[in-house]
Amino acid sequence: MSPGRRPAAFFLGGRHLSEAASLVLLAPFLILLAIVFLLPLGTLIHESLLVPQPTLANYERVFVEPVYLRVMGRTARVAFYVTLVTLLLGYPLAWVMARSSGLRLGLLAAAVLLPLWTSVLVRTYAWMVLLQRNGLVNEWLQALGIVDAPVKLLYTEGAVVLAMSHVLLPFMVLPVYSALKGIPEDYPRAALMLGASPWSAFREVVWPLSLPGVASGSLMVFLLSLGFFVTPALIGGPQQMMIATLVSQQVRELLNWPFAGALVGVLLAFVLALTLAFNRFIRIERFVGTR
């Protein structure tokens, strides 16, 4: 085709869509994004910075008052632990899945995915039933004679980490699974052949090659944890408040929209910074070049 003379067809036969075609196809999504995401977010940030007059006081408050720093610290800590727990639970699971086929793979995939298709609320209430003062776990602990009186399980940070790890596990398992699945079986075989023990073969070959999956799973779980609302609100209660609950409290109970906006702004800045850092990190994937 001579340059500058594109055919008028909506779809080109080649690999690339014309710009007009891409735009038309993307339009519904972009409009939705603008109305339900960018507009409210912009309004909130606008409130936090410019209402009633331009000020940074709301942001100052986030960083000055210890209670808010504590909430943010707890949010980051819980997100970190959840990431760690899902990685420790999810990696072996993904490993087994990557080496399974047929019925076993189907069952494992269902075990990972079914919770994902179940309402978070249902799963969270299930954890509340298990962990409450007269719940199953306390009953068993007492029946087994491990404790004499019911222990406080619900409304603790540990309970929040546990329940959130359960909810977010699929987001770790799936990327790690696909990374492991992409490592040809001949790589660990070659390592064994060259004298590596099974553990060395894993440490030197499989683990480094699975890192892109680990990194994207971790980022996903960590970011989802930072903004998680339902589970921390119900399992953690007011004592274990995380940032999403704090935002909701500011908006619904205190009607302090500008301060809620500042909290959202801080969270957003943190998430953006992490994502950018991750993008730099993931460049290694290109130079690893699995093919």
Binding site: R189, M193, E204, V288, R291
Partner: protein, 366 residues
């Protein structure tokens, strides 16, 4: 530079190996001895069990019964990392997150050798495969042939007693494959390592190996030097698989001992002579196998099979004539360029014949 273990260290023996996958026997009672420093090719079509045998030697498959010995030591149940073997795989298995020199040094690292020494040895091995100066590159920055040479360097740098190769050249294009065949052969001769090489390509097996083991459906058909396989195939399968062969069914007119000439009344008319492969009783069904280049075409005469040229295919170095000898039978005759006195044209009437020592008569399986 003698890297490989000669002497008895490099001996490989497979004894009565059987490997079943469910009801299917992938390997069905194979015994094979490979001497130290020998280059043996396992040759067969897919599903012949050649790769399963290699994997049993490597330690990735455990046999249903039978034994694998390396250097006189029973390693049947030893894990692959304890066997001290080298292996080059079909696909390039260089670790993509390591540089070329790190890849080659990997087996040395696994053996606890210090950084400086393994670097030096890796560079030396890199020179052995003529890739000096490529050490800092990533495997993805090398061509297919270069990657396979690095894989080779990695497999010999720790001086394994035996080098296993699983169709290492099948992913390369034809010219490069031929070049690499000779290169691997020369390297093997230089370092004296025992090689067990799996391939489905008969030319590759014949080019590289001291001896070729031909397998079909899990059974060993014949083991021998390339010349023996071609000139004296022991079974019809070997005769058909190695090179090109015309098969003609018939019945022995008289009994013959192995190696003696036997006259055969061909099904569909005519008579031919061949050398009996085993003892052939009188009247038994036999198959006569004759190579196209051993078939002589002449003007029709009493002691030849009468036929008609159906096709003459000129291919430069040789002309292949397909002769119709009646009874729905066609014979290929290959006439090397410069030896044919007559240019046979389609439709020409010919006499087809061969000497008894140029054809082989296999008694049909009872």
């Amino acid at each position: 530079m003698a890297l490989g273990g000669a002497g008895t260290e490099g001996r490989v023996a497979v004894r009565d190996l059987v490997k079943r996958f469910g009801p299917v026997a992938a390997v069905d009672g194979v015994s094979l001895d490979v001497a130290a420093g020998e280059f043996v090719a396992l040759l067969g079509p897919s599903g012949s069990g050649k790769t399963t045998i290699l994997m049993a030697i490597a330690g990735f498959e455990f046999p249903t019964s039978g034994r694998v010995e390396i250097g006189g030591e029973d390693v049947t149940w030893a894990p692959p990392n304890k066997r001290n073997l080298g292996m080059v795989f079909q696909r390039y298995t260089l670790f993509p997150h390591m540089s070329v020199v790190e890849n080659i040094a990997f087996p040395l690292k696994m053996r606890g050798i210090g950084r400086a020494e393994r670097e030096a040895k890796a560079q030396a091995a890199l020179a052995t495969v003529r890739l000096e100066g490529y050490g800092a590159r990533r495997p993805s920055q090398l061509s297919g042939g270069q990657q396979q040479r690095v894989a080779l360097a990695r497999a010999i740098v720790y001086r394994p007693r035996v080098l296993l190769m699983d169709e290492p050249l099948s992913a390369l294009d034809k010219n490069l494959r031929e070049e690499m065949q000779l290169e691997i052969k020369h390297l093997q001769q230089r370092i004296g390592v025992t090689v067990v090489f799996v391939t489905h390509d008969q030319t590759e097996a014949m080019t590289m190996a001291d001896r070729v083991a031909v397998l079909d459906r899990g059974r060993l058909q014949q083991v021998g030097a390339p010349r023996d396989l071609y000139e004296a195939p022991a079974t019809p399968f070997v005769a058909g698989f190695i090179g090109e062969t015309n098969f003609l069914p018939g019945r022995a007119k008289a009994a013959a001992v192995a190696g003696a000439p036997v006259a055969v009344a061909l099904d569909g008319g005519g008579e031919a002579v061949a050398t009996a492969v085993g003892a052939v009783p009188a009247g038994v069904a036999v198959r006569v196998a004759v190579r196209p280049e051993r078939v002589a075409l002449s003007p029709p005469s009493a002691d030849t099979l009468p036929g008609t040229i159906a096709e003459a295919i000129y291919a430069g170095v040789a002309t292949t004539c397909i002769a119709d000898i009646g009874g729905d039978r066609r014979l290929r005759a290959r006439i090397a360029a410069g030896t044919g006195l007559v240019q046979w044209e389609p439709g020409a009437r010919v006499g087809v014949g061969w000497r008894a020592e140029d054809a082989r008569a296999f008694a049909a399986a009872p």
